[in-house]
Symmetry: C2
């Protein structure tokens, strides 16, 4: 007898050459794994402790958010529509951000993603040791990195200055990252795992980068890093090393299949090609880079050479949501408009980027990203009776995949199963009190806002003027 049987599903398995669509399909789950997938009429594992008749709704792999910073989610919406998002607006609030705010805010961020169908969170932040508890509690699959850099919080850097790098800071952060690894890597049969997260090539010495790489090899994990993420990074790299980020990383042996290169905002076509050809993955954050920088990163270039392209929602201050349906939509439309061609980034391709190709990018394709026997049971049920998914047609042409990408907004996700466990059912979280989490987060946010007031007053920013004018 299996634990869960999902039947009468419009299955989108993401297996095989196409999307592996099976109308009138079924999936069975035992413990944390998928045990059988196929047409209901040929199904063998029909006895289950829990049977879910989904009445032709869509059943598909959970979405993978390949780059998210839940620890600053609590600053959502505080710096928008400005140059220099960080210095121009977010800074007073970052200064006032405490551990409580990071951890409480992270919880709401995770809930937000989960309710929109995200089952795997590549969470990149600190204090990750504490944030990991949130993932453990809500039941999410998490791939965690505790940010490593050599940036001292105390130093006041003028624009244009080379960042002073402080090796003692680097060593402390490395210790945190190792502690995280020791404590959480492999938790619950690998539902939570860790990797190394050097913040960027401009924020640490070559020596530390190489040390990080050795550790990653030892633990057999990937390296999750911002690469060519902005003109400031390129400026720092040229000033310090006389070369751009990607050439530098190639020379020190960083461009290989261990690397998850996030953003590539400033990468040229040639540089992007090199990253892809060396076997590294690209993580594209369409919403965040579009809203913060007005840029569409070179994902079209990357995917000419590699399918290891994943999507990430990045951080709520900036993006401003952590919703993979939003990322799919933005990715499709922004890339179409970049080259004035409606054919590029079609729905099926973008859906792959949020599922099976993301799993490949993370090196986790044997475990997640599709619905297949033996894989971990990370599955979402999407309500095709929602107005935004109406109508649901199977023949002569199916309209479900385009509607998932272009129309659904995440609120159609009805049920979320992670690692064989139902963590959301009929839109109610089963393991966490959503209301309580938001209430506690709101209190923490108000405390941050209060502390930020003294920094904010002295800034006289574009945003504070807009606030005075009543525009925000």
């Amino acid at each position: 007898m299996v634990d869960i049987l999902i039947k009468n599903a419009t299955l989108i398995t993401m297996e095989g050459k196409g999307l592996g669509i099976i109308p009138q399909g079924a999936v069975s789950i035992k413990d944390n794994k998928i045990t059988e997938v196929g047409q209901l009429r040929n199904f063998t594992q029909k006895k289950a402790h829990k049977e879910i008749d989904v009445e032709e709704k869509v059943v598909m792999p959970g979405l993978i958010d390949a780059h998210i910073h839940t620890g600053i989610g609590i600053l959502r919406g505080l710096s928008q529509d400005v140059d220099n998002w960080m210095e121009g607006g977010l800074w007073p609030f970052v200064k006032a951000l405490d551990e409580e705010g990071r951890v409480k805010g992270s919880m709401v961020n995770i809930i937000e993603g989960l309710k929109a169908g995200t089952t795997t969170f590549c969470d990149y932040d600190n204090p990750m040791g504490k944030i990991a508890n949130n993932h453990a509690q809500v039941g999410s699959r998490a791939v965690l990195a505790d940010t490593v850099n050599e940036m001292s919080d105390k130093s006041d850097i003028e624009v244009g200055d080379l960042y002073p790098l402080d090796p003692s800071v680097g060593q402390e952060k490395l210790r945190n990252a190792l502690e995280l690894m020791e404590k959480w890597h492999g938790y619950k049969d690998g539902r939570i795992r860790c990797l190394m997260g050097p913040q960027g090539p401009d924020m640490m010495s070559k020596e530390l980068l190489l040390e990080v790489k050795e550790i990653a090899k030892r633990y057999n994990t990937k390296i999750h890093m911002h690469v060519a993420q902005g003109d400031r990074e390129i400026y720092q790299m040229e000033k310090r090393y006389g070369k751009r980020s990607i050439q530098y990383l190639d020379e020190i042996g960083y461009l290989d299949d261990m690397l998850l290169a996030v953003h590539l905002t400033e990468a040229t076509a040639e540089e992007t090609k090199l990253v892809a050809q060396r076997g590294a993955s690209m993580i594209l954050c369409s919403g965040s880079i579009g809203i913060i920088d007005g840029i569409v990163p070179p994902a079209a270039e990357f995917k000419k050479y590699s399918s290891k392209l994943a999507l990430g929602s990045d951080q709520a201050p900036g993006n401003n949501c952590n919703n993979m349906f939003n990322e799919m939509k933005f990715t499709a439309i922004l890339n179409k408009c970049k080259v004035n061609d409606p054919k590029v980034f079609p729905a099926w391709e973008v859906l792959k980027m949020a599922t099976i190709n993301a799993a490949k990018a993370l090196g986790m394709e044997d475990e997640i990203g599709s619905i297949a026997p033996g894989k971990k049971a990370d599955i979402i049920i999407v309500d095709t009776n929602s107005p935004s998914m109406f109508p649901a047609l199977q023949t002569p042409q199916r309209n479900i995949v385009p509607n998932l990408v272009y129309s659904a907004n995440g609120s159609e996700v009805e049920t979320v199963i992670i690692d064989g466990e139902i963590v959301m059912e009929e839109r109610r979280l089963t393991k966490t009190n959503e209301k309580q989490a938001i209430l506690e987060g709101q209190k923490a946010a108000e405390n941050i806002a209060q502390r930020a007031e003294k920094f904010y007053k002295n800034m006289n920013t574009t945003l504070s003027k807009k606030m005075e004018e009543g525009l925000i």
Copy 2:
């Protein structure tokens, strides 16, 4: 005693120079109008038949969808990611589309918009006489146009041919439009009104266009028309008249404040400037034009000269959703990425385009688009306790407006009041059975799909190949 008192609101009135934000605010409603707006502590009309304590949630004007075709909503998702969206994919389904499908599909489309906070629908379709019943039933505010053109359905046109125009078709469609006007214009104290809807300058003779204009003058209504909506239109205009659409329209006296010019996809900067300077409004459909054509229309050019810029969700096959939160998001990010500048199309400006500036564009600013005494009571309540709106901060800097535009997806809309009537409460429609509407629509859609099969089989399109490959 008033009918409804909304209290403890974070009011975004859209009145005055800024956005007219009033924390701890209240609004009262009697019959179909707003009677008082202000801070709760100074409020006079405190006795009400129904009191809604919104506990600091956002209360704002209902959103205005300035261009929507609900009559083809039932074909959602059937033609995506191709050149020639209509001929390349939608055609077999359009051929099979019957009146039942149009009307039943329209109902679900309206429900979709309404649940995402749209209170005014500028619905442009046919048979509008029947679709009007849907708006009457659900309680939406509607500005209706029955499409007028001289295109014969029977003629098979080869690509590159000049469309044959048939004056008898034009006269029949004009009769329908006049019937609609006589029957519905002014219904329920103007909750439903009508205007003239010539489909485009390429689809009818100059004589018919001028006749339409005379009728619009007689009824004192605007003219809602697609202008420079694609390269095909420009090609037809140049072939027939030796000039582009906007020059032609200017010469025949069509560019004035009666005109709502939809799309302007192909308009040059100079042409756009002329449209704005002549006093016409622009309706921007960011999602639909982005997905179908990969183009960002020249809204930035338009708004240099005029504030009469509104947003429209266009038709579900193409866009694919009729959700104004989606339109706001797309409008901001696409325009930022068009010019690589995060400062353009800031949140507050986009929010205006969906409310007060849309009302100006429609010439309805005395009635809708903001919360002010004497205006019609079209109001939505947005749940700021949703994860996507978390946290909600008022000081030292408010983050609510950016989060409404960049993060909310419409599912945060809790309550919708139109013309003083609560049409949705706690996400349940009060006047329509949503489930039943979707069930009936789904049946109608399946009938269309069945009839489309014979046309579809002969087409051998990109999409039918993708269908065979299991990609859609």
